[in-house]
């Protein structure tokens, strides 16, 4: 009988990523209903700090300790995870809808001959442990509730900010350290380089707050205004297809159908008309603010708060005012 709600924990520079804590928190909520154990699986060496930080979020931590797991490759992860899953037969295996999750999970699911639902914006569980996943289709024009056949584990990747992080200080997970017998010749791919993105900002898919400007910003150098605002809010800067196609901004910051879907808690759009390509990428943001000079701009149909006005006036004022307000908080 498969048992266990597992989360594949992602880490970076020895620290656990936020999405993994969100999923473990959800796992604990689910376990209250089903009585299953919550397991955190993480792969890599030198993860003592990460492992210890996970103890209030799980019942068991499976630490597969080997240097071959950093940086991530699908072959190494598959070799590490598959025996563990086969041994313990978890009922559920969750991961973040991240570059790792999207690369690994489909392949892992195929290997395990099980089901996998990608890029979810919601999960619910029945007492018998049956998982139902909610996910957008057609870029968010419709949503679907997706269930699994009798196969286990039920696998899903979930977007950022779908679940809240909740620490359980009373819990203290058992740490199970595993030293796998890894055959490095199995690892076909090799990561040979890494080019860190400029700045220290989080990826737009990971950030709690995203501020963005579109063609209305008129020239690439004006993005400084948006960056200043982002600095005050500790936000990341997004943009539209138009400015990427113009070569003003990097593709990695493009929100929308041919770019990225974001699930920020707060999304602020300045000088963005709201083309369907763009708004499909912000459908799951919690609060949306739009500022545009055109009162009929479509973006207002997708916003919670709107100001009809000139971004060149609003943005600097917003930055200054926020500085004051947030300074008063501290």
């Amino acid at each position: 009988m498969p048992n266990g709600i597992w989360v594949l924990v992602e880490h970076q520079d020895g620290k656990v990523k936020k999405i993994s804590l969100e999923l473990l928190s959800a796992g604990i909520e689910f376990s209250k209903k089903t009585g299953q154990e919550v397991g955190a699986v993480l792969l890599g060496s030198g993860l003592e700090e990460a492992v210890n930080s996970l103890t209030p979020y799980a019942d068991k931590i499976y630490w597969i300790n080997d240097t071959l797991f950093i940086p991530y490759t699908s072959e190494a992860y598959l070799a590490g995870i598959v025996p563990l899953v086969k041994e313990h037969q978890p009922s559920i295996l969750l991961g973040g809808a991240t570059s790792t999750g999207k690369d690994l999970f489909p392949r892992l699911a195929m290997h395990l001959q099980t089901g996998y639902v990608p890029d979810c914006t919601g999960l619910s569980i029945e007492e018998n442990g049956k998982l139902t996943a909610l996910r957008p289709l057609f870029g968010g024009k419709v949503f679907a509730e997706v269930g699994f056949s009798e196969v286990r584990p039920q696998m899903a990747t979930v977007r950022n900010n779908v679940f809240l992080i909740k620490e359980h200080p009373d819990r203290s997970a058992q740490i199970i350290s595993i030293t796998p017998s890894m055959d490095s010749s199995l690892l076909k791919k090799k990561v040979v380089g890494f080019e860190k993105a400029e700045g220290t900002k989080l990826d737009i898919t990971e950030a709690d707050i995203v501020v963005a400007a579109g063609r209305g910003i008129k020239a690439p150098e004006h993005f400084k205004l948006i960056e200043d605002l982002a600095d005050v809010l500790n936000a990341s800067v997004g943009t539209t297809r138009a400015t990427v196609d113009e070569g003003w901004r990097d593709l990695k910051d493009q929100i929308g159908k041919s770019g990225k879907n974001i699930s920020a808690k707060l999304y602020m759009a300045f000088g963005i008309s709201g083309a369907i390509h763009h708004v499909l990428g912000i459908g799951t943001c919690k609060t949306v603010v739009a500022v545009d000079t055109d009162p009929n701009a479509l973006i207002f149909n997708y916003a919670d708060y709107g100001i009809v006005g000139d971004l060149f006036q609003i943005v600097p004022a917003l930055t200054e005012e926020l500085k004051k307000v947030l300074a008063a908080d501290r």
Partner: protein
């Protein structure tokens, strides 16, 4: 199956391909093209390199030899983007090269038609003068037979691509007194150091279709050799022109369809989002009626035009049908752009919104392929004849 209104799978695929090319190459630039009022050489080269200029011509000269319906699909999709650019491209594909392909000798075809299909030479056709347009019998540009060729004298107006043309098919008369019976086509190239030819006169600034450059061509005692006479017999020019007139009219109708649809799709978006008195204005009956009327006329027009295209393709005589369809489509388009302007209210009056461009571009279609006054006069006369 006698009646079948469907496009083939292949035709649908072709439409999709053109639509995609237009979306990617033209759509992002329509505003700029209109505002700059310059011929977009880069766009021209791109379209030429894709091979679209050879749509109508024989494979041996670099063409595609597509059928009429396929060509019309192209015209319809192309005009969705920029009406002005469409004018330049269609001039090259159809009117600007037809008579050269039909009557030019092999040397002329190699020298003119082949580079024209590649987009390396730009062509045009010259009918209009200050006192003749619809009234071709009033043509005064004179062609005089001389030893080994012809001498041409006159001024041609409203010449699409005129300011940039490398070669032109010029209508001229051997004797103004002969009226329609004196008219012929001549191939004339632009004047260079080594060759006699036309020079550009005044360039016109237009209300719409502004990225196709239009202007005067001046023929000042230009000598052209005998082989530049485009025809088999003297005095048959009008008859030859008739060979493509049906196509020209249906093509014009296709442009009208495209502009009307773009304008109304745009107006629909506006009407669904513009709030007045607490509702999107598309909830109000007077606004809805505009869409309903347009829709009915548009569908009728489109069916009629493709029927004409089908008749041309199958060599079924259809002069009157093509005139009627052009007239109907263009009037439908006038209605659509006018109502789109009204739906936009005051916003129609500023250049921020594209609706005024549709309105301006559309007006051009009233004249191409025959003014509606001339068409209606003729059609009414034909209808009433006992």
């Amino acid at each position: 199956m006698a009646l079948d209104f469907s496009f083939t799978e292949e035709q649908e695929f072709f439409r999709q391909t053109v639509r995609d090319a237009v979306n990617r190459l033209i759509m992002p630039r329509v505003k700029e093209l209109d505002e700059k009022e310059e011929f977009p050489w880069d766009l021209w080269k791109e379209f030429a390199s894709l091979g679209y200029l050879g749509l109508r011509h024989k494979e041996e000269y670099g063409g595609m030899e597509t059928d009429t319906i396929t060509q019309m699909i192209f015209y319809e999709e192309l005009a969705r983007g920029s009406c002005g650019f469409a004018m330049s491209v269609i001039m090259q594909i159809l009117m600007g090269t037809y008579f050269i392909a039909r009557f030019g000798n092999e040397e002329i075809k190699q020298r003119i038609l082949v580079p024209a299909i590649k987009g390396e030479k730009i062509g045009t056709i010259c009918f209009t003068e200050d006192q003749s347009g619809s009234d071709l019998g009033g043509t005064r540009t004179l062609a005089t037979k001389v030893d080994g060729g012809w001498r041409l004298n006159g001024r041609k107006q409203w010449i699409t691509n005129g300011p940039i043309a490398d070669f032109a098919t010029v209508m001229a008369t051997v004797d103004p007194k002969l009226g329609l019976k004196g008219l012929n086509f001549y191939l004339v190239e632009r004047k260079t150091e080594n060759r006699d030819g036309f020079v550009s006169g005044q360039r016109l600034h237009k209300l719409g279709s502004r990225c196709s450059v239009t202007g005067e061509l001046v023929l000042d005692n230009v000598f052209v050799p005998d082989e530049n006479f485009l025809g088999e017999e003297i005095g048959k020019g009008v008859q030859y022109a008739g060979e493509i007139l049906n196509e020209v009219r249906v093509m014009t109708g296709m442009n009208a369809l495209a502009i009307a649809k773009e304008a109304m799709e745009d107006a629909k978006q506006y009407a669904n989002n513009r709030i007045a008195f607490g509702n999107p204005i598309s909830k109000y009956q007077l606004i809805r009626e505009k869409f309903a009327k347009y829709w009915a006329w548009y569908e009728a027009s489109r069916t009629f035009l493709y029927r004409c295209a089908w008749m041309i393709q199958n060599n079924i005589p259809c002069i009157n049908e093509c005139m009627l369809a052009k007239y109907h489509a263009t009037e439908m388009c006038m209605y659509a752009v006018e109502e789109a302007m009204r739906i936009y209210g005051g916003n129609a009056f500023c250049s921020e919104y594209p609706v005024q461009r549709f309105w301006r571009d559309a007006k051009f279609l009233l004249y191409g392929g025959g003014t509606h006054e001339v068409l209606c006069d003729y059609l009414g006369r034909v209808y009433c004849k006992d």
